[in-house]
Symmetry: D3
Amino acid sequence: MTQTRLNGIIRALEAGKPAFTCFSKVDKLTAQELTDAPYDGIVFEMEHNPYDVAALGDALQYMLSRKKIAESGSVAPSVTPIARIPANGGEMNQFQAKQVLDRGVYGVITPHVSTVEQAYNMVASARYAKPTGAALYEPKGIRGDGPATAARYWGLSQPEYYAKADVWPLAPHGELLVGMMCESPEAIENLDDILANVPGIGLVLIGEGDLSQALGYPRQYDHPEVVSAMNKIVEVCKKHNVVVGNPHTNAKNVARLIGEGYRFLMSAPTRSYGVVGQGRELAGY
Amino acid sequence: MTQTRLNGIIRALEAGKPAFTCFSKVDKLTAQELTDAPYDGIVFEMEHNPYDVAALGDALQYMLSRKKIAESGSVAPSVTPIARIPANGGEMNQFQAKQVLDRGVYGVITPHVSTVEQAYNMVASARYAKPTGAALYEPKGIRGDGPATAARYWGLSQPEYYAKADVWPLAPHGELLVGMMCESPEAIENLDDILANVPGIGLVLIGEGDLSQALGYPRQYDHPEVVSAMNKIVEVCKKHNVVVGNPHTNAKNVARLIGEGYRFLMSAPTRSYGVVGQGRELAGY
Amino acid sequence: MTQTRLNGIIRALEAGKPAFTCFSKVDKLTAQELTDAPYDGIVFEMEHNPYDVAALGDALQYMLSRKKIAESGSVAPSVTPIARIPANGGEMNQFQAKQVLDRGVYGVITPHVSTVEQAYNMVASARYAKPTGAALYEPKGIRGDGPATAARYWGLSQPEYYAKADVWPLAPHGELLVGMMCESPEAIENLDDILANVPGIGLVLIGEGDLSQALGYPRQYDHPEVVSAMNKIVEVCKKHNVVVGNPHTNAKNVARLIGEGYRFLMSAPTRSYGVVGQGRELAGY
Amino acid sequence: MTQTRLNGIIRALEAGKPAFTCFSKVDKLTAQELTDAPYDGIVFEMEHNPYDVAALGDALQYMLSRKKIAESGSVAPSVTPIARIPANGGEMNQFQAKQVLDRGVYGVITPHVSTVEQAYNMVASARYAKPTGAALYEPKGIRGDGPATAARYWGLSQPEYYAKADVWPLAPHGELLVGMMCESPEAIENLDDILANVPGIGLVLIGEGDLSQALGYPRQYDHPEVVSAMNKIVEVCKKHNVVVGNPHTNAKNVARLIGEGYRFLMSAPTRSYGVVGQGRELAGY
Amino acid sequence: MTQTRLNGIIRALEAGKPAFTCFSKVDKLTAQELTDAPYDGIVFEMEHNPYDVAALGDALQYMLSRKKIAESGSVAPSVTPIARIPANGGEMNQFQAKQVLDRGVYGVITPHVSTVEQAYNMVASARYAKPTGAALYEPKGIRGDGPATAARYWGLSQPEYYAKADVWPLAPHGELLVGMMCESPEAIENLDDILANVPGIGLVLIGEGDLSQALGYPRQYDHPEVVSAMNKIVEVCKKHNVVVGNPHTNAKNVARLIGEGYRFLMSAPTRSYGVVGQGRELAGY
Amino acid sequence: MTQTRLNGIIRALEAGKPAFTCFSKVDKLTAQELTDAPYDGIVFEMEHNPYDVAALGDALQYMLSRKKIAESGSVAPSVTPIARIPANGGEMNQFQAKQVLDRGVYGVITPHVSTVEQAYNMVASARYAKPTGAALYEPKGIRGDGPATAARYWGLSQPEYYAKADVWPLAPHGELLVGMMCESPEAIENLDDILANVPGIGLVLIGEGDLSQALGYPRQYDHPEVVSAMNKIVEVCKKHNVVVGNPHTNAKNVARLIGEGYRFLMSAPTRSYGVVGQGRELAGY
C-alpha cells in the first residue's frame, strides 16, 4: 500500500505551509479546469449551490487526468477535492457527509457549527465505527460502511481505503480533512470549548459573510468589529493548534493573513478578457 | 434601488386582494408556460415531487421572458415563484429552505408545522442573521450567507438583495413569503399559540389532503368535520391577521372561499382536448 | 403472437375514421399526461424541438401506464407515439429514422419531402432489408438491424417485431406509419409522381407554416392561395388513396376538414386557468 | 379493486418462503435489466449511491415491461422495487421515506436504527395519518399526502392506493415493507425492546459491513464474534416473528442461512466474460 | 416592433468597428458568466464539443439577465450568441442550422465550406422560404417553419421574428449572421467564386488550425505559408466587402490584425490564479 | 513522447492475436465496469442506442481508473474504447466520426459501407488534413481540427496527439482503428474493390443481423447461405490482409471462428443470478 500522503491540503499543512484552495461549483468543466490549477485543493461548494451528489460524482471523475496520474505513477491527486455540505451543524445531519465521502472527496466542511455537540456529530459522521475501547474511539464513528466507489476513486483497495479514511490530525495518517465553519458570535464564544473537547477537527474556516451579517456589518470584512471577531477565532485556533482558514484571500490581504497565522487560504480564480479592451482601443472606440 | 414590490403574491395581498396561485412541477417546460399564466405566483411542489434543487434552478431560469422584462422595464417577475420543501416542520430542517432561496425563489412553504418551536425554526431558516438587539431580531436568522445566484436572479445587486430578502409582513418591505402547512389536529390546536408567538409567518396554507386523512375522511373536502376543522384554521388566522390559503380552489367553491376570507387561492390549470370529441362526433364515431 | 392492430392511428384509419393526434414536445411529463389523452396518437416533434433521442427513449417509457396495460391485457398502446425528425427530405438522411424507430416509435414523419428520390429514401430508411426478389421489396430497406429496445417497448419478441415492423399500408399488417411533409410548391408539383412511384407512404401531412411562407402569406391559413394549394394536395392524395393530414385542426375548421377528406387531424391541447378570472372578478378586481 | 398481493417480497414471505433480492444502483439500464431477473424484489441502494429521487423515478419507469404486464393482466410487478435511504435512524428524518414512496417504491429500508424512538419514527414516516382512535393507529403516520405519482405507478386509483399503502404485516393487506438496518452493538442491545414496542417493522436487515467494523473485524463476516452478533439478531427476530435478512448471500452460505432462519436473502448478480478466456487460450496466448 | 438592432455583432460591424467574440462551450455556467463579459457576441462551439441542442437551449436561457434586460428596456442581448455546427459544408446538411436557430441563436457558422454549392446550401438552410420572384429570393430558403421558441427567446412576436430572421447584410435589417469557415486550400481557391456568387454570407472565419494542418505546418500560425494563405483570404474578402474573422486574437497580434482588416476578432478569456503564487512566495515555499 | 502502443485492440492484432471486444451501451456505470473487464477494447454502440455525444464524453471519463493508470505508469488504456456511429456509409456523413473522435475514442465503425466512395469518405472523415503531396495523403483527411479534449483524454500533448491520431495500419504508428460494417450483398460484391482501392481500413466487421435479413434468413447465423456469404467476406479480407471481425462470438463458435481467421471477436458479457435458483431449491420451492 502506498505510503504517500494523498490529501494535498494535508500535505501542505504537514509541511508547515499554508494550503491554497478555492471554492468550486459542482460542475464538470470547472472541475476539469481546476485539475490543472496550482491549488493544493478545492472545495466543492454545495451549501449555496445545489447539493447534487450525482453531479459531484461526475465532477470528481472529470478531475482524473490520465497524463498527470501516469507521469506521477501515484494515486495522490494533483488537486485534492473536498466538499462543503448544506446542513448547518445544528441540524445534526449525518447523511450528507456520508454521501459526499462515498463519492470520493477527501474531506467535508460543515456550515454553522456552534456547539460541542454539533462539532462532535460533524466529526462522527465522517468516521467509520470502531470497537469500543479502540484507540481514537472518540468521536464515535457513525459513517455507514459502503466504500466501493470512494476506494476506487482514491485508487486503493478497500482495506487500504479503510486504513486511510479517518480524520486528520487525530489519526496521523488519516486522509480526511473535517472542517467546521465558525461564523456566528455563539460559535466564537464556544470555540475554545469545542476545540478542547472534540478531537478530529482539522480546520476551522471563518465564514466572513455570515459573521459580518451577524455583527451588523454585512460583507465589510475590514470593519474593526469583524476583524476583531476574526482575530478571536485565530487566537483560539492557535491555542489548540488547529488550522484556521480564510475564505477571501486576495492580493491585498495575503501577506497579512499569512502573518496572522491563517493556514488555509481560499482565493477565487479570476477570468479576464484583456484583449477586448485593448482591441477596442486600437479600433478607436 | 427599485422601490417596486417584487413579489407579486405579496403585491396582491397588500392591495387587499386574494392572491391566485397553483402548484407546479419542477420542470422547465411547465415553468416557461406558467410565466405567461394569469397567476400571481406559483408554488414549485417539491414535497411530493423530487426535491431537485438543480432542476429548480433551471426551471427558474426558464421563467425569464425577455419580452416581458423589457416591456415592463422592471425586475418584478410577472408570475412569482416560491417553493414547497419536503421536510416536515418536526424535522427541524434548515438546509432545504436555504437551498431553494439561494436558487432565487421568493418564498418557502414547509409541510406539517405543528408547534411554536417548529414554526420558529421555519421562519429562522429563511432569514439572514442580524446583530443582537437589532430591530426584528426574532426569529433569529440562520440562513447561511451566499446570495450571488439569488441576487442575480432577482435582478438586484447583493446589497439590494440583502435589503429585500426578509420575511413579509414582519419586515414590511420584505419580499419573502414564508408559509406553513396546517394539516393536522395538533397543528390546529397549536395554531393560536404559533401565530401569537412566532412573527414572520406570511401564510397558513391548509393541507386538505393530510387533514382529511387525519380526520378519517380522506379527500372528502366537503365533509362537515373537515370543513369545521378548516373553519377553525380560518378563524385563528383572521384573529392574528395572517393570510390563510386553500389548495383546491375551483369553480364551485371559489365564491365561498373568498367570502370566508381565504386570501391565497390555489387552482390547478386544466388541459382540454375538446376538438377531438367534436371531431369524432362529426366523423360519425 | 398477438393479431391485434398495435398502431392506434392505423387502427382508426383502417376503420375508415379520421385519426386524431397532436404534436408533443419530447418531454417526460408531457408524454405521461398524453398517455391518458383521447388522441389516437401523438407526434413527438423533433424538427423544431431538440432532436434528442435519449430524451425520446425516456418519454416513451413514461407513456407506459401499468393500469391501462393490465386492464386491456394487450400490448397495443392507448395512445400511439410516432416522431417527426429534423432532416429535410433533400438531405437524404437515414440515421434519424433508424434512431427514433429503434427507441420504439410506431412511425416517422420527414419534413420537406419534394421528389420521388427523397420519398423513396424516406420509406427505405424505415424498412429492414429483404432478399432480392422478395415480395414488397421496394423501396429497398436500409434500416440497420438492432431491434432489441423497440421490440421490448412494443411488448413483442424479436421475431414478432420483425413481422410487424414494416410500413403500412404497403405491408397490410405493418405497424409503422411513414409520413412526408408536403410543404412547398415543388413538393406539390411532384406529389402525383411521388405517390405514383413510391409505395409505402402512409401519410401526407401538409406543412401549412412552410407552405404559406413559400406562397408569400406566412401563417395565413385561410388565404385563397394557401387554401388552393392545400386543396391540390388533398386531391392528389385522394387520387392515390393516401391519407392526408392537417396540422392545425380547430373548432372552426374541423367540420370542413373532415368534409374535405382530411383523415389525420392534429389539434393542440389547450390549457386554461378559468377559475383565476372568475376569482378575480368575485374579488372585485 | 385487485385483491392480488402486489409486493412480491411480501408474497414470498407470506408463502413461508425466503424472499430473494439484491441491491441495485439507481440507474435506468440496471433497473430495466433487473425487471427480467429472477428476484422477488430489488433494493435501490441510495445510502452509498447518490440519493437522487428524480433518477429513482426514471429507474422505476424503466421497470415497466409492457409484455409482462399485458401477459399477466395484473398490476403486480414482476420484480418489486424498494429503496434504502441514506439518513441514519438517529437523524429522525422523515422526508426521505416520503420522497421515495411518492415515486412508487413498495418499501423503505433505513440505516442504523438503534432505538425504539428511531424505529418508531421510521415506521411513522412511511404511514399516512389516521384519526385518533383508529385501528392500527400506532406508530402514528406522518407521511404527507400526495399519492398521485405512486398510485399511477402501482396501477391503482387513489382510494385503492390508500387502502394498500400501509405497512405489512401490521396491516395484513399492506403492501409496504419497512425495514431497519441492524448494524451496531447498540442496535443489537436494543433490538428486543424495539421489536416489542414498535409494530410495523417488516424486516430487520443485518448490516454486516458496519457491524463487523464496529466489532473490530472489518468485512470478516465469518469471524466468530461477527457470527455470534448476527446470531443474536436472528434469535431476537425469531422471538418476535420478524423477518431477518442477510445482505451477502452466496453459494457457500445460502444453505446455512436458510437453515438458520434468514428469510430475506440478498445476492448480487455476477457478470462474466467467459468466452474471452476461452478464446485467448484457443488463440495460444 | 422594435427598430433596435438586436444582433450586437452586426451592430458593431455596421458601426464600422471590429466585433469581439470568443468560443464558448455549450454550458450553463459558462454561458451565464459570458453574459456579463465585454464581448459583442459569443460562438457556442458545437463542432468539437458535443452537438447537444437541448443543452444549447439551456445555455441560452442562462444568458438572460433580468437586471440587464430591465435596465435597458430592450430585447437586444448584451452579448449575442451564435453557434458553430459540426457538419462540414460538403455534407450538405440543413437540419443542424435549423435546430440551433430554432433554439434562438442569432447566427450560424459552418465548418469547411469549400465550394459555391456548399456555401449556397449553408445560406439557404438559415433562411425561410419566400415566394418565387420575391426580393432577395436567392439563396432559396429551406429552413423549416417553427419559430415559437426562437421568437420567445428574442422577445418578439412571431411576425416580428419573421421580419428579422433573415441573413445580414443581404437583408439589411436581418439579424442572422451566417458565417463560413475558410480552412483549406480548396476553399481559398474557390473563395472569390463563392463570394461572387452566393449572397448572404456575413462572415468568413479563417480556420487557422485546419488550414495550417493542410499546409503542413500544424498550429504554426506565424509560418510564412500560413500567413500568406491567410492574407489571400483577407484580400478576397475585402474585394467583396465581406467581414473576415480571426479565431486566435491575442495581445501580440491584435494591432496587426485590426490593421490588416480583420473585423471579427475572437479571443479566449483567460483564468488566473495569481494570489496563489504570491502567497506561496510569501510563505517561503 | 511515449512510444507505447496505446490502442489495445491494435496491440493485440499487431501481436498476431485476435482482439476480444464487446458492444457497450453509452452509459457511465457500464463503462466503468468494463474498464476492469478482460477485453482488449469495447465498442460504444451508438447506431441503435442514442447517438449522444455528451453521454459518450461522460462514459469515457468513467473509464479512467486512477489505480490502473498509476500502477502502469502508462497512458495506454486498460480497455480501449471505440465507437459505432449511426449514419450509414451511403449518407456520406462526416460530423459523427469527428464528434466521437473529438471526445477521445480510439476508433470508429461505420454501418452499411457498400462502395469505394463510401469507404473513402469513412476513412477521410477520421483523418486530419495533410499538405498535398505528403506521404499517406490518401484518403484525404477532412476531420476538423480541434484536438484539445481528445488529447487530454489520451494523456498526450497536442503535438503528440497529432502524431498518433491517424489510421492504422495505413499509418503504422497510428492509434485509430477505422472499421466498416460489411452487411449487405452489395457490400460483399464491392468488398474486393473497396479493399483494393481504399487504404486505411483497419477492420471489416460483419453485420450478421443485417446480412441475414438481406438474405432472407433473419438472425439464422448458421444458415448455409449466411455462412457462405460470411466466408466470402473472410476470404476477401484475407486476400487484402485486413482484419475481419465477428459480432456474435460464443462458446460454441469461438474455436471455429479463430480457425477461420476472424481476428476481431465480439462477445457479450453475461449476467447470472445463480444463487437465487440454488436458494429457491434449498427452500423447497
